[in-house]
Symmetry: C2
Subunit: 194 residues, 2 copies
Amino acid sequence: MGAGGRPRGFEPEAALDAAVDTFWRHGYEATGLAELTEAMGISRPALYRAFGDKEQLFQAALKRYVDLNMSYVSDALTRSTAREVAQAFLTGNAAAVTTPGRPRGCLSVQAMVTDEAGAFALLAENRRVIQLRLRDRFVRALEDGDLDPGQDPDRLARFLITLATGFAIRATDGETREELLAVADCALEAFAQP
Amino acid sequence: MGAGGRPRGFEPEAALDAAVDTFWRHGYEATGLAELTEAMGISRPALYRAFGDKEQLFQAALKRYVDLNMSYVSDALTRSTAREVAQAFLTGNAAAVTTPGRPRGCLSVQAMVTDEAGAFALLAENRRVIQLRLRDRFVRALEDGDLDPGQDPDRLARFLITLATGFAIRATDGETREELLAVADCALEAFAQP
DNA sequence: TCGGTACCGTACCGATCGGTACGCTACCGA
DNA sequence: TCGGTAGCGTACCGATCGGTACGGTACCGA
């Protein structure tokens, strides 16, 4: 029997990057197949062969977005004190949602509007995972003694993820990176060390 | 010449309320005329006669939403100290985005995803106006001496509006009112009085 | 050389999109 | 009673939606 077949005529990763950009700008529902195929530079059947349907393409795009644009989260978690973690997280987020040459805001926030049924629960799940990682880090900070013992790690994690989510929306409203960073400074007052 | 004509067969305000609810749940793009007319209980031409087109209907719905569901903003601004203003603002917002029997989140945030062109600039404008009102209130608070002179009114206002915007998204993620209120407590630490 | 496989894209599917033409009806003032 | 007005809804418009059937092509191993 034969194997292989005709090779692909395009780079799947490059096409996926174009899909990320398109979903990022318009959200899920407002992005049409015509716009996607034009941005990705491939025909419609090629898109379906390579990525499944629109929703699967979106999920692949979201995964790639997270891998490429949310590394600041893992970076932040490696900092040595709770306050530094918080600062790195907010600063990294402010930068990510206001990167010149890229759409404003966060794909994971932009795309979530539609469909109350759980089709996009993974967007919320994405935030929930980050929240839990932050909380675990703050639990350790309490043990390490670099966080005021009166603080609630869960509440601090929620505080940060809520603020970061707000950053994403405010960035699309036109807020500048400097303005977001000023807000971040404001929030860091909650992370005074003991 | 005659005047008047056949009277309306429905209550415009009740129909508009249904439109508010529908846009609130799905955002602008994802809401179709079929869904709107069914929720509003009127035929498609009746909708167009009464409200213009879909975008005009949305703007009317947004106005009504603000009138009915964002009165907590004006309420908050009447409080006697900066900290009380901030607390009332965040508490009112947390309640508004988690009201039982109503959609989660905020129409003005839910609806903004679409169309980078300025068609929905009024959503951002809505937030900007609130931000300016808060800032002016904090300027007065500085004059009144109920705010630490080292604080920046503009930054505090941005801080609050950003957090409130985050509340809206987090509420649709499933965050409870109590969880949001805990975050609000966290934020209020920035409003210590002198 | 040839069968098998997986890519290619044109040309199409039914459904739904936002929006409207048009014949009809209920109320007004004259 | 009757002309003018503004409401009513059925039935339709072209465009676009997400998705695919199908004939053709480039590569594999045998």
